[in-house]
Amino acid sequence: MGASFSVLFLGPIGLNGSNGSSGSSSLQPKPSLGDLPESCVALLLVYLDPPEICKLARLNRAFRGASLADFVWESKLPSNYEVLVREVLGELPENLGKREIYARLCRANSLDGGTKKVWLHKSTGDVCMSIASKGLAITGIDDRRYWNHIPTDESRFCSVAYLQQIWWFEVDGEVEFPFPMGTYSLFFRLQLGRASKRFGRQICNTEHVHGWDIKPVQFQLWTSDGQHAASKCFLSVSGKWNYYHVGDFVVDNSNLATKIKFSMTQIDCTHTKGGLCLDSVLIYPSEFKERLKRF
């Protein structure tokens, strides 16, 4: 071992400096933390978050070994991860280590014919979900005078729904999923203006944007266990995608799947509205709520 070698021949470098006399009188080289058994290193890793653990896996063989310890990753996985695995990943090989399970759950896994993506937030292990515009019930979506799906790389789903103009604006959706216990925030990801690329540059065309400053848009969500949240606001042109916060809901029993319905409406038919790009609905752990609102 590098450290003990240095103690024998070069003095107690990087080791017990405070105990000088005992260090030099003892014939045995002092053990260094490089000699810690893997199980002890693993105990240390439990107190770090997954990206840190993975970073330290590159230190040396002992740290790599410790970073593979199942009990470390069991402490990071959601408590109902076995249910999540079945729902999101399907059947898995028997001997897959817990680190690998965590890694696979962290990928943006597709569900429901690609209309939803689910993943674990890498640092905290909380579940996140994005629901594509094609997974939402949009009033008038089939009428090309009102709505069109346009391909874009600004969406996880490679396509957004663009509203030219409409009187009755309503977008509904619902999802049933075994969210682990915790508090979640629900957002609509929207942009006023039509996003496109011209000559390789992103452009936001606000030509058709109208009607959003007359009456506010209403957002609501309901859960099957009786929770309800509502908010309303005026949409405005910002030239970028914004997360509009609908509200929060709490899951206190992860053994049952949580059913959530949500909607966004502006149905005052005295005026038309349009020029809106709707990307998706995002369900995210509430602790990151403020970060997303600043987008």
């Binding site: 017990n16 005992s22 058994p37 770090l48 896996a57 970073s67 994005s130 970060r291």
Partner: protein
């Protein structure tokens, strides 16, 4: 058994155990406190080992052993204070956390490493836990090189192993999250 929660001085009556550090220094400790060190407990669990036997702790310095004993003594006292009363439990827990924070705050990086090695060798679960948490705090968000220096570690990977490890954990650094 021994005098839990009473006068902590080892000179007061009650069974004591002798522990010898690596430099030969002997520590006389109340039995209840000595049994917090699972390694010592196992030593006496063996048939035929008399409680008068001095326990040789070759891998522990006297500085570290003194601190370990001091912590375990306080831990045993605090545990005796808690019971069915939730209020007393809460107070004892807070005191223990204060004790741990104080121990950790005063220690240099070298000191903490030495204590971890001692707690691991002596097999003291609670002490090892809070020491690991403290070290975790010290190395959080630091570079790989910093951590390597902190633990005085050699990189014993072959270039192929290093590359393979890098690929194995690449998922942890990909940007999937929205925030």
């Amino acid at each position: 058994m021994a005098n839990n929660g009473e006068n902590p001085s080892p000179d007061v009556g009650g069974k004591t155990v002798k522990l010898k550090a690596d430099d030969g220094e002997i520590f006389e400790v109340e039995e209840a406190v000595a049994m917090e060190l699972q390694t010592v407990k196992s030593f006496f669990d063996d048939d035929g080992v008399s409680y008068d036997t001095v326990v040789p702790l070759l891998n522990v310095s006297s500085t570290a052993l003194a601190k370990v004993i001091q912590y375990c003594r306080r831990a045993v006292e605090l545990r005796a204070k808690s019971g069915d009363d939730e209020g007393a439990n809460e107070k004892a827990r807070e005191e223990r956390e204060g004790l741990e924070a104080e121990l950790v705050r005063e220690e240099s990086d070298e000191g903490i490493k030495e204590l971890i090695l001692a707690a691991n060798y002596l097999n003291i679960k609670d002490m090892l836990s809070f020491l690991c948490r403290a070290v975790g705090d010290r190395i959080k968000n630091k570079s790989v090189e910093y951590v390597r220096r902190f633990f005085v570690l050699e990189n014993d990977f072959s270039p192929e192993e290093e590359e393979r490890t890098r690929n194995e954990v690449a998922w942890a650094f990909e940007g999937v999250d929205a925030d």
